[in-house]
Symmetry: D2
Subunit: 349 residues, 4 copies
């Protein structure tokens, strides 16, 4: 009964099977193999971006850091929210990869508004050699609070960035979950909405460990290749990254898994609405739920074997009715009876 994270769940059997299939005889290394070429072509196809440069890496932090460092000079600042994964959960990988860029925090929550973005951008004076120079805007879709930017919201933000000639990166660790939530195409959620580069996640949605970095303008493709190798993220047996990604994209497996994960989170949210004193911190739109429950409810859940992220503590002392916040994540694999059991436990019936 684990709602800890979508990186705790298993890979989809079809992904594992693809590894076995790919494991036949010899293949050129370092991404020069056929399977990699086919995978890259498939991604370009799905994104309706025949010119895009496509690169595979094994971790989401690698995708974000390498993509951002390709877009950012060391004396520039990246604009992101205070909850952005790149700020809170990557142990300075963006700062390391960029050679010392700064992250300027926009607004207060998980989503930025065009107004807050503009204020942040103008917070650094253009042409002033003393201060941080303006750099890329970094968005996360699904956000770190489980919400999804609408296409209109994305367009408004990228238009703001464009007014200042700033590129926009999208951290799509949960790209598929957002896509099915919006029911749009990959192109619509990215380059058609003004996104320049995207970290297209596979790991959290049923792969073992693979992400694609996609630049819709391929001008910096070779620089990215050098950055990836220099950072030790170029796999020698690259076919095993490609095999995962290609299986992921075959027969809509990626969309099916994302739909399953979102549906399960919706079922869980529906159940939680009936739990006394459950307060949602954000409207769940994909596969994550942020809410508070009384301490006593958490104690009951944990005693009952539930695993999930408890964001504030301590659990064992303090008033039983004090609300403590939690993060619940559903992956494609979690059984519906686990969800129902969780709700039952929470209700304490």
């Amino acid at each position: 009964m684990s709602f800890k994270s979508d990186n705790c769940g298993p890979a989809h059997p079809a992904i594992i099977e693809a590894l076995t299939t790919a494991n036949q005889g010899f293949a050129p290394s370092y991404g020069t193999d056929d399977l990699t070429a086919r995978t890259e072509a498939r991604l370009r196809d799905i994104f309706e971006a025949p010119e895009a440069s496509v690169h595979l890496v094994a971790t989401g932090t690698a995708a974000n850091s390498l993509a951002l460092s390709t877009l950012t000079q060391p004396w520039q600042t990246i604009f992101c929210t205070p909850l952005a994964h790149i700020h809170t959960d990557e142990c300075h990988a963006p700062e390391f990869y960029t050679g010392g860029a700064k992250l300027s925090l926009v607004g207060e929550g998980d989503k930025m508004t065009p107004e807050a973005l503009q204020t942040a951008i103008e917070g650094w004076t253009l042409g002033d050699v003393h201060c941080s120079q303006r750099g890329p805007v970094a968005l996360t879709q699904v956000t770190e609070m489980g919400r999804v930017y609408s296409l209109e919201e994305l367009a408004a933000l990228t238009q703001t960035a464009a007014r200042y000639d700033l590129p926009v990166h999208l951290d799509g660790a949960r790209f598929a979950n957002a896509l099915v939530a919006l029911d749009c195409t990959p192109a619509e959620m990215t380059w058609k909405a003004g996104i320049d580069a995207v970290s297209f996640g596979g790991t959290k949605n049923g792969c073992l460990g693979v992400e694609a970095v996609i630049f819709f303008n391929p001008a910096k493709a070779w620089e990215f290749e050098l950055r990836r190798k220099r950072a030790a993220h170029l796999f020698s047996k690259h076919r095993f990254l490609a095999a995962q990604m290609l299986a992921y994209l075959t027969d809509d497996l990626w969309l099916d898994m994302a739909r399953a994960a979102n549906a399960k989170a919706a079922r869980l949210a529906e159940g939680l609405r009936g739990v006394p004193d459950c307060v949602f911190l954000a409207e769940p739109q994909a596969n994550m739920i942020f809410a508070t429950l009384p301490r006593a409810t958490h104690q009951r859940l944990m005693r009952g074997g539930a695993h999930y992220g408890l964001n504030q503590g301590p659990l064992d002392t303090g008033a039983p009715d004090e609300p403590l916040s939690m993060r619940l994540v559903c992956d494609w694999s979690i059984p519906e009876d686990a969800i129902d059991h969780f709700v039952t436990l929470a209700k304490g019936d």
Copy 2:
């Protein structure tokens, strides 16, 4: 008929199978799972090093760069040979990870001698703020020319380093191939010979992509963890790194594959001794052969479908009898008849 590299061959089926086995239900992420703990314990056991800190990464360059950066200050120089992989094949990953350390080249070839090492060390004056400060010694075992340091050679080098209080790192991308060539224990080839840290390779010897970094003194374990995360090399679904490594170490699979690879290279070398004008550039001691053949022989081999590294060219023009050097690598999987066919082609019978 590929002798291109041991990273072009397939993973061993038992390694793939271990992924399937590990892919059951939920597991804690980022290396906090049981499988990882068991794998680390197994490595400590094999190395007879109960105190050692053990860390898994997915690429050899990550292992080397992270290990070396933990041992090196940015103003220090790493001592390595001019053929060292860290110098010639990692696109400045060591310089990137260390924040600008230098690589000082020792001697002329793939193996360093204590005398050459001493000369290189003394080339940088102790206590002089203007010059490079003396840092770790980096050895490769199997060397980049396919040779193996004897235990006596290793000890002589580490003793030289110790006289200057310098730590020693071993790039063991082909650790198993060297080990079975020397017929010694992992402890004998590392800490008992004065090695402080080792990159213990799995990828080139039948895994998909996994290496272990081992520090025999665990004082910097937490720093390494931070460096690994900051570099985006901490896997969320870490069990899939652990599963590979544990299967690799089970029932001597790693040693069996290394023995197979070395035996195949020996068979190939034996065959090449009968090929006209074949000149060995180094005595093959593990699974790699460096030799020259006349241009015409190479042409015949390549027309016949052989794949391998041709280190100088061009192939198509110039005298047919001009010797061109090649690298031939045998992995555990290459069939014996491919070897024999290669020799037959080379002989041109």
Copy 3:
């Protein structure tokens, strides 16, 4: 009539004269000369810190960045206010020198409180490999709004830092101005108040360009020397840095200049209190004044030849009575009649 900055004013003639005096014959280079040794001894004396390590550099940003990088690991965060010079005016020098450390902003203004500092520190979870690790606290004295921390305020902040085992750095670009404002000793304002390292400014207070970095615990003195050289901040003709600093510290010249600057700012503030619609943004405690005046008043001042920092604009359009903020800085040299003339102009009599 320049109130633009204390780095726009002239050096004191005695400082220039010291250069001439120092310019006799040959002297060992790179800080190994007698004059440097005497200067370092003088600083240790003034700070009552016989064990301290003392290092001269030419710019304040070099002093801050080198000092902080000696105290900060790349994966750590520095805690400073959002107005800190290291955040707003050093073009990522701290990030560059530290190899990618982060700056976590404490509170809202120019001074931090122990409570805000504690909140910021606890914002990064101890022992979590994913997030920023807790690093040094960086204070500025005089603050960027012209205020001065009392000794009690400093002690409360350093005690908070100490509870988390974090070192404290003091940016003393205007050290002397703060010291005479508090009427205390250098020791009282630094190590007796819990400060670990200080950037002791000379440039803004009558030197051409010299600052001292002082570590009260000299354990990292050699590392600092390497960092300074690696950053190209070790002067070959080092005697010319030392000569400035020694003259600065001779016969209380540094204190006299600071007292003069502060007194002039006090006279200016006193005058401004009589200017219609002048609103102080912070109580002036040293040699800087932050206040707002109506746009029309600014227009009159600038037409009259006044130079100073106008922090928001535009000057030429908009309502004449709209308040616009300014920064006025007095150095030791500004004539009293310039001050009085400024006030007269402002009053518009």
Copy 4:
């Protein structure tokens, strides 16, 4: 009697005087003052380069590192000789400023040949993502052994670089000494010979501490400004850098001092030719002499009060007739009788 280094000698009185003259009233800071503008114009004039971008810094290592980092990507290698100051004497400043570029050593001595340069360039395969990418060529004029590249030699090297599309940087710490030795114009020794950027030294030739970085193509001027500020090398009281440089360039002072220094070195060399067992290691062409003398001669010189660089030791033990190498440097100020006395001492008459 100091022949230790030209950075041990005094500044020319006219340079000091210029500081006094510049020290009048208020001036805009950070290089926006008139004196700086005039100095930059003067440099453009002297170099017959009306489009060039000109930037002042205080140390030679800053000039080299900032210039090279502007020309070099972190994954590129700089080609220089094994004796290059940037390799042997800057404590990794080039590696630090470039973010981890490599220095590839060309040839064996202080001067590179086009053939050796070509070999070094081709040592790194074009388009191979694994290896160092080809970057700028870095020459030193006067070389680190006191020799001077002829204009033909410079042109041959820059033509080699140009065939590979690589820019060329000239470390001109002793630019003036080389210029008067060649009796050519600054333009002839730089852009007319194919040089792209130059570190134009003042410090070693009679200034306190000032160097100019000149890019003949100004495309990266703003990037350089950001790099200089980020590295803490932008002086607030910038007029004091400009004043030195402008005085240096006025009335041919720079050329007069260089001619004096070279003439004195020639006189010293002439004298040494009469010293028994004195062997020159390189033909002196500017203001430095590299030669060997028997140990006993060194002992006599040092007992007699001579200061100079003894490059190998120990002085006190070993055979009296063993040759030990030395470096003797003459600056503009050293008296002729000191030279003559040195020779007399060396002769042991």
